[in-house]
C-alpha cells in the first residue's frame, strides 16, 4: 500500500492512500498541478511530506530504488540513446509487450527519431512496465494514441492492476477515468484533491 501524507510541493498539499491493485484517476484542468503531484510522489522534485510503500519510508532507501518501485511515466517520453532497443535492458523480454501494443517486432533497431508521437509513447510505456514496479504513476499515457491503441494500453494496465500493481492515472478524458479507475481524484486550483467514485 502506498500512503501519501501532507505531500507539499509549491501550492500542492495532498494526502491519500492507494491500495495494492487499485487504480485511481487523477483529473483537473491543465496547469493545476497533476504532473507536479506525480513527480513529487516519485521524488523527482524537492518536496515535503511523508510517503511510504508498505510502511517503508521512501527516504529509507536510495532514490533510484524507490523509483524502481514507484515509477513515474512522463507525458512526453525522453530518450537518451539514438536506437530504440538501447533503452531496454532486455529487448527480447520486452517484445511480447511491444507487439501487444500494436508495434512491429522489428522496431528494436529503429532510430528514435523515426518514431511517431504515438509509437514513442507506447514504447516509453513498455520501457516503464519492464521494471514491474509496485506503483505506476502514469501521466496521460494515451494522449497521443488512437482508440485501438488506447484500448490495448488500458487492457494491458488492467492486467497489471489485477496482479496487484497500484496505479495513479492522470487523464483529461472523463470516460477513460471511469473506465480504468475505481476512484477519481479531482485536483483543484488550490492544490488539493477531492475524492469521488465514478
Amino acid at each position: 500500500m502506498l500512503t501519501v501524507r501532507a505531500l507539499r510541493r509549491l501550492h500542492i498539499s495532498v494526502s491519500f492512500d492507494l491500495q495494492d491493485g487499485e487504480c485511481v484517476a487523477l483529473q483537473g484542468p491543465s496547469g493545476v498541478g497533476k504532473t507536479l503531484l506525480l513527480r513529487s510522489i516519485a521524488d523527482l522534485d524537492p518536496n515535503e511530506g511523508t510517503v511510504t510503500l508498505d510502511g517503508t519510508l521512501r527516504e529509507a532507501m536510495p532514490a533510484p530504488a524507490w523509483r524502481k518501485r514507484v515509477t513515474y511515466l512522463a507525458a512526453e517520453p525522453g530518450w537518451w540513446s539514438d536506437i530504440v532497443q538501447d533503452h531496454f535492458s532486455g529487448w527480447d523480454d520486452a517484445l511480447p509487450l511491444v507487439t501487444r501494443l500494436g508495434l512491429p517486432s522489428s522496431c528494436g533497431p529503429w532510430p528514435v527519431q523515426r518514431l511517431s508521437t504515438g509509437e514513442s509513447q507506447r514504447l516509453a510505456l513498455v520501457r516503464a512496465l519492464m521494471l514491474r514496479s509496485r506503483v505506476l504513476l502514469l501521466d496521460e499515457p494515451t494522449s497521443a494514441l488512437d482508440s485501438a491503441s488506447t484500448a490495448a494500453v488500458e487492457s494491458l494496465i488492467a492486467e497489471r492492476i489485477a496482479n496487484g500493481t497500484s496505479v495513479v492515472w492522470s487523464t483529461h478524458d472523463s470516460a477513460q477515468a471511469s473506465r480504468v479507475a475505481s476512484r477519481i481524484f479531482v485536483m483543484s486550483a488550490d492544490g488539493r484533491i477531492g475524492d469521488s467514485r465514478p
Binding site: D43, P46, G78
Partner: protein
C-alpha cells in the same frame, strides 16, 4: 643568446597601425573607435604593469610572492570562465568551481613539470613557474568553460531524456553520462585541434618568442612540445573535475535533476 632589444620609442611606428585601424573605423563608420581605444590603452597598461611585476618577482624569487601572483592569475581565469557561461550557476558555486578546478589542474600540471623535468633552482623560480602557469591556465580555462557550458546546455536541452532515466531508477551518474561525455568532448576539442594544426597553420607564440630571443629552433620546439603536453594534461584534468563538479551541483542526494539551480539565460 643574442636578441634585438626594443626601446619604447621603437614602438611608436608600429602603434601607428592601430591608429590606422581607428581611422578606418571612422571612415567606414564601424563605430569601433571607442572600443579600440579602450582596448589599446588596457593592453599597454596591463602589459607594462605585468612587465614591472615580473621584474620585481624575478628579483625577489620568493615562494610567497610567486604563490600570490599565481593565485591572482587563477582568480582572473575563473572570472573569465563565469563570464563565458550562457547559463550560470549561482554566485559562489560557479566561482568556487571555476577557481577550484583551474587551480587543481593548472597548479598540479605546472608543479609536476617544475619538479620532474625543468627543475629550476629553487623549484618555484617565478621565471619558470609563472609563464608556464599562464600558458596552461589560459588553455585549461578554455576547456573548463566550454565543458561547463556544454554540460548545462546539454542538460537543459536533454532534460526529458535525463529525467526519463532517473524516473526509471537510474542513478544521477547513469542519467547524466551522455551529457558528461558531450561536455568532456567539447572541453578537449580545442586542445586536440590545436595540437593537430600546430606548426602547419600557426607557429606557437612561445616558440616564436624563444626563436626571436636567439634560441635554436629545435630547442624551442622541445619547449613547445613540453608545453603542449602540459596543456593537454591540464585541460583534461581541469575539464573532468569541472564537469563532474558541475554534474554534482546540478543534481542532489536524492538523484534529482536540479535545473532550478541554473540561473536564467543571459539576455545579452
Amino acid at each position: 643568446m643574442t636578441y634585438i632589444q626594443l626601446a619604447y620609442g621603437d614602438l611608436v611606428l608600429p602603434a601607428l597601425l592601430v591608429v590606422m585601424d581607428g581611422a578606418l573605423s571612422l571612415a567606414l563608420r564601424l563605430r569601433l573607435e571607442r572600443q579600440l581605444a579602450i582596448a589599446t590603452v588596457r593592453m599597454v597598461v596591463q602589459l607594462v604593469l605585468v612587465g614591472y611585476v615580473l621584474t620585481f618577482l624575478f628579483a625577489a624569487v620568493s615562494l610567497l610572492w610567486t604563490a600570490l601572483a599565481a593565485c591572482i592569475m587563477v582568480l582572473f581565469a575563473s572570472r573569465e570562465i563565469i563570464a563565458r557561461q550562457k547559463r550560470r550557476l549561482p554566485g559562489m558555486w560557479s566561482y568556487g568551481l571555476g577557481a577550484g578546478c583551474t587551480l587543481l589542474a593548472a597548479g598540479t600540471v605546472t608543479i609536476f613539470s617544475l619538479l620532474t623535468e625543468l627543475r629550476p633552482d629553487p623549484w618555484y623560480h617565478p621565471r619558470y613557474a609563472l609563464p608556464l602557469l599562464g600558458m596552461i591556465l589560459g588553455n585549461t580555462m578554455t576547456g573548463i568553460s566550454l565543458g561547463l557550458d556544454a554540460l548545462t546546455n546539454g542538460l537543459v536541452r536533454e532534460r526529458a531524456a535525463v529525467e526519463a532515466s532517473l524516473a526509471l531508477g537510474g542513478t544521477r551518474y547513469q542519467a547524466l553520462l551522455p551529457a558528461l561525455r558531450d561536455a568532456m568532448r567539447s572541453g578537449l576539442m580545442p586542445t586536440i585541434n590545436a595540437m593537430a594544426a600546430i606548426g602547419l597553420v600557426s607557429l606557437p607564440g612561445m616558440m616564436t618568442g624563444q626563436i626571436l630571443a636567439g634560441v635554436e629552433p629545435i630547442d624551442a620546439v622541445k619547449y613547445q612540445l613540453l608545453i603542449m603536453f602540459l596543456i593537454a594534461g591540464g585541460t583534461g584534468l581541469g575539464t573532468l573535475a569541472a564537469v563532474l563538479g558541475g554534474a554534482r551541483l546540478l543534481t542532489d542526494h536524492r538523484h534529482r535533476l536540479r535545473l532550478d539551480r541554473v540561473l536564467a539565460e543571459k539576455s545579452a
